[in-house]
């Protein structure tokens, strides 16, 4: 069976998710997919200092903005399917924060679209991280200049953006 339209899944949720089930959902019943890329971003803690990461988000806009990015990725790379799941609320070290899945005919489109989506999610999706440390302190995570730069390479290649 070959589905006629690209599949698009966007979820913003507090609950943990299963990225493999997400990829399976996107490819179920299809034989026209040649390449799938699954990116997962995890809550990292190299030295045991982090107790929990708290993700604040803008309900409503988060879903809408990710939906706009997913639509842009599908049309720009002629994707067969795309899925994005982003969590909010408390997240512990080792847990997944975000997953992006892209499906295409050939591998380059899937790789590029997944990379594009992550670059945009980092700088354009309305989420803010606060670190709660094991010693009781807390601090908002600052935006990384390298993330803004990563987004700029898509801008430079012709993409019209809603902001900046």
């Amino acid at each position: 069976m070959t589905a006629a339209h690209p599949s698009k899944i966007v979820r913003v949720q507090e609950e943990p998710f299963d990225s493999a089930a997400l990829a399976a959902e996107l490819s179920a019943g299809r034989t026209d997919i040649g390449a799938m890329v699954t990116f997962t971003g995890l809550c990292r803690d190299e030295n045991g200092a982090l107790a929990v990461l708290e993700l604040e988000h803008y309900p409503g806009m988060a879903e809408e903005e990710i939906g706009r990015l997913a639509t842009e990725a599908v049309s720009r790379w002629s994707l067969i399917g795309v899925a994005v799941v982003h969590r909010f609320g408390p997240i512990r070290p080792g847990e997944m924060i975000v997953a992006v899945v892209t499906a295409s005919v050939h591998r380059q489109a899937a790789f590029e679209a997944a990379s594009f989506l992550m670059d945009y999610l980092k700088t354009s999706a309305p989420f803010w991280k606060k670190e709660h440390r094991a010693d009781g302190g807390d601090a908002w995570v600052e935006a990384r200049a390298t993330d803004e730069k990563a987004m700029d390479r898509w801008r430079a290649s012709g993409q019209v953006l809603p902001h900046k």
Binding site: L55, Y58, I97, V98, A125, W140, E142, K164
Partner: protein
């Protein structure tokens, strides 16, 4: 001007002391930048939240905006720091 809903996130919310309010904008406040200037004068928390207006981002009706974006017709205006999702 009509009443608008103002929303604040992350450290802007913490500095201002609340996450949401409604306001009737005075005449002459027509862009995001003008709104930021007006909000800065509303008290110490606002002054601290908007101390560096260049790094504060705004969204109008859930779409990213720029300092010169007009407010005409806006129902919900959100202010927040640079995003750190993903």
């Amino acid at each position: 001007m009509a009443e608008v809903k103002l929303i604040y996130f992350a450290w802007l919310r913490e500095r201002i002391g609340h996450g949401e309010e409604t306001a009737v904008l005075p005449p002459g406040i027509t862009t995001v930048a003008e709104l930021v200037s007006w909000l800065r004068g509303r008290g110490e928390g606002y002054a601290r939240a908007f101390a560096q207006p260049d790094i504060v981002r705004a969204a109008i009706d859930r779409r990213h905006s720029r300092p010169d974006t007009p407010l005409a017709g806006a129902r919900e205006i959100a202010f927040f720091p640079p995003m750190t999702g993903g």
